[in-house]
Symmetry: C2
Subunit: 251 residues, 2 copies
DNA sequence: CGCTTAGTTGACTCTTCTCAAAAGCAGTGG
DNA sequence: CCACTGCTTTTGAGAAGAGTCAACTAAGCG
């Protein structure tokens, strides 16, 4: 039996338990579903557009992103952080309509498709928990759409920072009001639908106004409540029954 | 037994059969799942944010939209047209994080939550078909995100027009290269994250350049291939194995 | 026939993009 | 240890796209 801290499903379990507590046996089932673990360097693709999805990828460490390239520019449509399943839903589709790439160095656990199917068929409770997490991912996607549609750049970025702090907390990867953000400004810009130049200016203004300190990939929020108000950040869409504790349990 | 044309599930069946043919019995199961049918006027809410989702809504006629209101402005995040299920996925969430409103006059069939659950448990093939359609909806959401992030207003609108033509075809609600678009420019603007004024100017330019004729809620595309190229419209994300025929079967 | 809502037009402002270039930083190989 | 290289961050200036405000027209409805 692995210690909790060593488990590759630690973050996944922490996330799912925001939906409902898992039994020791259920946790074991998840852990045992993993067939192998791989490392990816930043910039490498984990799954590529056009491929037929064969297995499911669980992010264990690092950040990954869903993206598409249109007319030369890249659009990152979702961030995956530890505990996130990259492609659990797409076994029904004949081919990926987007790619999944490692945004930072990543550790990725692979779960064969049939083990997921088996869990979904035989573990009613786990099945519901996994479906819940898929629905939350979709809710996040909708909120990103809203951000792009009607929030100006500054609020958009502030909103993203708030979201990623909470999501980091959910899997215990935060420190008080800061979290590790292993992205370049270019990647963040590709996420927010703006140029890296403008992204840079927005970040500078957030720094100058004393909202954040962002240095060597550590994002520190100086006054979360103020930033949340300015960004109109309402965490309802994350569907966390109880919001995670202020302080992370690890890291 | 109802004639095909009278069935309230006609469009839904047409859509699902792009995934895989349904047996007569399966079609019957779907039709019988409906408990009642209601009319909504344009502007009315079908489901409201904060509500606990109790039953599933199938759009039979008219257009509906998912939306959120942020800081006074509205963002429409998805269109539902006949054959679309509004909220099949959200039975696991405690409350709606967005509203669903009738964009035009709508006919909506209600399916009690437990009948959906029963179908999902007992009709493996229908379950898969429904999951497929959910995945396609999510793929559409991602493509809208991409549009907002990196397409300029003109391409964004052109892309939407291409998509809605294809989706109308999928359920047989088109005529050659035109379809019924029962929205106001304000609603379209709320969808594309721009002001109604700018929307108006974009539409005018599309008309002036001979790309479309849009009059009394009929959207006519004069040269689909040209528009698709200009909009960089690649229908892969709609996951239609075979693209629907040029000419709709009804209307 | 007046009322309300949707569509249209113009002038002006502001956000964001583009192009261009410099400065910082990390890794590489000599 | 240092020059070189590639990538990211930063800064500046001008251009373009999209928003705002204001008004006017057209169309549906009671």
């Amino acid at each position: 039996l692995l210690l909790n801290e060593e488990r590759r499903t630690r973050a996944l379990v922490a996330k799912l338990e925001h939906f409902s507590k898992l039994s020791a046996e259920e946790k074991e089932v998840l852990e045992n579903a993993i067939s192998r673990v791989e490392q990816y360097a930043a910039g490498e693709d984990i799954v590529r557009e056009g491929q037929r999805p064969e297995s499911v990828h669980l992010l264990v460490a690092g950040w990954a992103g869903r993206y598409k390239v249109v007319d030369g520019s890249r659009c990152i449509m979702a961030y995956m952080i530890p505990g996130d399943l990259c492609d659990i839903q797409i076994t029904l589709l004949s081919r990926m309509d987007h790619s999944i790439g490692a945004l930072s160095a990543c550790t990725v656990a692979t779960i064969p498709r049939e083990r997921i199917t088996s869990i979904r068929d035989n573990q009613k409770h786990l099945d519901r928990a996994l479906s819940w997490s898929t629905l939350v991912d979709e809710a996040i996607l909708r909120e990103w759409l809203v951000s792009l549609a009607l929030r100006p750049a500054r609020k958009r970025v502030a909103h993203l920072i708030c979201e990623m702090l909470i999501r980091s907390r959910t899997v215990g990867l935060n420190e008080e009001n800061s979290f590790h953000l292993p992205l370049t400004q270019i990647q963040i810009a590709d996420t927010m639908g703006m140029t890296a130049i403008h992204m840079n200016r927005v970040l500078q203004r957030l720094r100058r106004t004393g909202a954040i300190i962002f240095d060597s990939h550590r994002m520190r929020i100086l006054d979360f409540d103020r930033l949340a108000i300015e960004a109109e950040f309402d965490p309802t869409y994350l569907h966390l029954e109880k919001l995670p504790l202020r302080r992370g349990s690890a890291n």
